[in-house]
């Protein structure tokens, strides 16, 4: 591993691209039966492009934008993307899925949010059109016995289980284990599900710290000073959070203003690693550790995607949204290539037999179990470092050593 790798910065050369492309092309040496006759696969990409989740939906779209030329370069067949906007609304997500299917899309991809994805999955199953989920963690989606729904994203119990395993690795590597923690969580479907999961899984994973208080807050909170006052008053050593973007920024500001320097922030969800968080808080954004589904920086294709993103969006660092949306399209193209047909049943059969090992997310690769779930994915611990991300655990995917305990917030200059 080079020194620059350790800092999470990569210089991707033409050679790296060629290596990644060659690795992928080698596994794609299957005959492209009937593809030319069938034409481009019509893929409906449903995302929350407006409404409260618009920022994330648009971030996922960046993954779509870079995917098409890279997949073409790797030898995958053409895809025609038809975009749909769920407007961050479950009912509109359902209606948009029906509309896209009526317009002739042959495969659906989406839709970031569990509620919206659940609605789309029902439509996809009813109409017999394959759905490849990019991001959605609710376990229930792949527990319905659906035949046309495939998810290449870890569900909530998997995310939590890996998080606790990675936390123990982090504490062992640094020799600093908190004895107590306070949980601050957003009071919405995601936050409540994670809170329930944390309570249920902590004993199973023998987590070394005790939760001294659990504080739920309104997802639309304008001010989180009370929440931090309450958390600080518990005297907990570490702060465990389940949050989103805006509240992550508010919480960090309050940590500084109220002069509280916990041993560290352990984030079990989005917010603390996002570009907007880093851009808004500058040096104060360094050091929180997020336990998330992520890309493996050591995989050749990751470097290719990272380079393409850096070229198209120099102000954006590669993240989960890009990685899993890219992979959803990769899965679609791979299935189409092997099916040699746009027939939904043939596509679904090909999806069931997916076996992509030269992918970009952490873990051995993309393959689906009998429920349509990729249960081989590996979640990692990432840390913000100088405005970039580094993977600090597990060791198999790490590209940097962790900084733990985190550096005091009031001494960041």
């Amino acid at each position: 591993m080079t020194k620059s790798d350790k800092r999470g910065t990569f210089s991707v050369t033409r050679r790296t691209f060629t290596a990644g492309a060659a690795a992928a092309a080698a596994s794609l040496a299957l005959p492209m039966r009937h593809i030319h006759a069938a034409g481009a696969l019509k893929v409906g990409v449903l995302l929350p492009r407006s409404g409260p989740q618009a920022g994330i939906g648009q971030d996922c779209q960046r993954g779509v934008d870079v995917a098409l030329p890279i997949l073409k370069e790797l030898g995958y067949p053409d895809m025609e993307i038809i975009s749909g906007d769920t407007e961050t609304n479950v009912e509109i997500a359902r209606a948009q899925a029906e509309k896209l299917i009526n317009e002739g899309v042959q495969l659906l991809v989406g839709a970031f949010d569990s509620g919206q994805t659940t609605a789309i999955a029902q439509v996809a199953e009813q109409k017999g059109i394959p759905l490849v989920i990019n991001i959605a963690a609710s376990p229930a989606i792949t527990e319905q016995g659906y035949k046309f729904v495939f998810r290449n994203f870890p569900n909530a119990p998997k995310i939590l289980g890996d998080a606790f395993t990675n936390q123990k690795e982090l504490f062992a590597a640094t020799g600093a284990t908190p004895k107590t923690a306070v949980l601050l969580h957003v009071n919405d479907t995601f936050g409540k599900a994670m809170q329930g999961g944390i309570g249920a899984l902590m004993p199973k994973f023998d987590v070394p710290y005790k939760l001294v208080e659990q504080i739920a807050y309104d997802p639309k909170a304008r001010d989180l000073s009370v929440e931090i006052s309450k958390a600080k008053a518990t005297g907990a050593e570490a702060l465990l959070v389940v949050s989103r973007l805006n509240d992550a920024i508010l919480l960090t500001r309050e940590l500084v203003k109220q002069r509280w320097n916990p041993m560290g922030v352990l984030s079990m969800g989005p917010g603390w690693y996002e570009d907007q968080y880093i851009k808004t808080l500058g040096k104060l954004s360094d050091d929180p550790v997020s336990f998330v589904p992520w890309q493996d920086y050591n995989k050749p294709l990751t470097k290719v995607v990272q380079e393409a993103l850096a070229k198209a969006h120099p102000d954006r660092a590669m993240n989960t949204n890009h990685t899993y949306t890219f992979e959803a399209l990769m899965i679609a193209a791979d299935a189409y290539k092997r099916a040699g047909s746009t027939d939904p049943n043939a596509l679904a059969d090909a999806l069931r037999a997916t076996n992509i090992t030269d992918n970009i997310s952490a873990g051995p690769g993309i393959m689906f179990n009998e429920k349509g779930q990729n249960d081989k994915l590996l979640n990692v611990a990432i840390q913000n470092r100088d405005g970039k991300h580094v993977v600090v655990a597990p060791k198999s995917a790490a590209n940097a050593d962790p900084i733990w305990p985190m550096r005091p917030l009031d001494q960041r200059g």
Binding site: G51, Q58, I215, Y217, D218, V226, S229, K230, K257, R259
Partner: protein, 290 residues
């Protein structure tokens, strides 16, 4: 829990309440005189936030210093909106006015989304993370400045309505439009001035709120709802009532957060609203209808 935690939280709630009160003043001014329920209240304030953000980014102007500029620009916007659009539907039934204001709100949200994008954006003030420590108490510097600025703007508004002839004429139009016409006041102009002043008030509130909250296009409806709660608690049309309502909501939300659960803060505001509606429907400082 140490007792200073409660004091810290109460002070923080009080300062937040002053800002809430200022944001609700605009709604109270407009309803008190023109009797229009401004459903675009929060969205107009968000426009003020974005304008202050543009001034901060382009000229490095602290939002506190941009308050007069934003207020003047929003005054012009409000004056024109009343003259060109609202006045023409003022004679129609209430639900037409509600729909008109809701339509204006949606247009403002879409316009902000197109111009500024969906991400939350804030002014990175050099003193954004500073706080004053007085013994065991920690007071957030930004919130203290913002609360003080809200008090100053509110005091100026009270003085305008109490001591200036234009302010008295506006109050006269609100109390008795027919009488105001009889004595020769230009009621249409006074209504336009009132909407302009209400919008200016929102502009000032927007610039001040930008110090503590990041601006994003979907923030408006939240602040509209909050302003309605505040003015109903304080008394619809009463300026001191709006400030009192803001302080009550801010402080009680904060204390509810520390004594009960932070996620119950909003529920507590609505509980207070129901209590006021049951016991004193005209609001704490509102006048009972004849």
């Amino acid at each position: 829990m140490p007792v200073e935690v409660y004091f810290n939280v109460a002070i923080s709630g009080l300062l937040a309440g002053l800002i809430y009160g200022l944001s609700a003043l605009g709604l109270s001014v407009i309803f008190g005189v023109i009797r229009i329920v401004n459903f675009a209240h929060g969205e107009i304030m968000v426009i003020g936030m974005f304008f202050a953000l543009v001034l901060f980014r382009s000229l490095g102007l602290d939002p506190l210093l941009s308050v007069p500029i934003v207020a003047v620009v929003l005054f012009g916007f409000g004056y024109l909106l009343q003259t060109v659009v609202i006045e023409r539907v003022a004679h129609l039934a209430d639900h037409y006015q509600f729909l008109l204001m809701a339509a204006i709100a949606i247009i403002l949200i879409s316009a902000s989304l197109m111009v500024f994008g969906p991400d939350a954006q804030g002014a990175q003030l050099p003193y954004a993370f500073d706080s004053f420590q007085i013994g065991p108490l920690i007071i957030d510097k930004v919130r203290l400045y913002a609360g003080a600025a809200a008090l100053v703007v509110a005091a100026l508004l009270f003085a305008f309505f109490r001591y200036t002839s234009t302010g008295k004429a506006i109050r006269a139009c609100g109390d008795n439009p027919a009488g105001a016409l009889v004595v020769g006041l230009n009621v249409r102009h006074m209504y336009a001035l009132t909407f302009g002043i209400g919008a200016a008030c929102l502009g000032a509130a927007g610039a001040i709120i930008l110090m503590v909250v990041d601006a994003h296009p979907y923030l408006g409806p939240e602040y509209t709802l909050l302003a309605f709660i505040i003015v109903i608690v304080g008394g619809l049309g009463s300026l001191p009532g709006a400030m009192l309502g803001g302080v009550l909501i801010g402080t009680s939300e904060a204390l509810a957060g520390i004594l009960l659960q932070p996620s119950l803060k909003s529920a507590f505001s609505f509980g207070l609203l129901i209590l006021v509606l049951l016991l004193r429907p005209q609001g704490l400082l509102g006048k009972a209808s004849q």
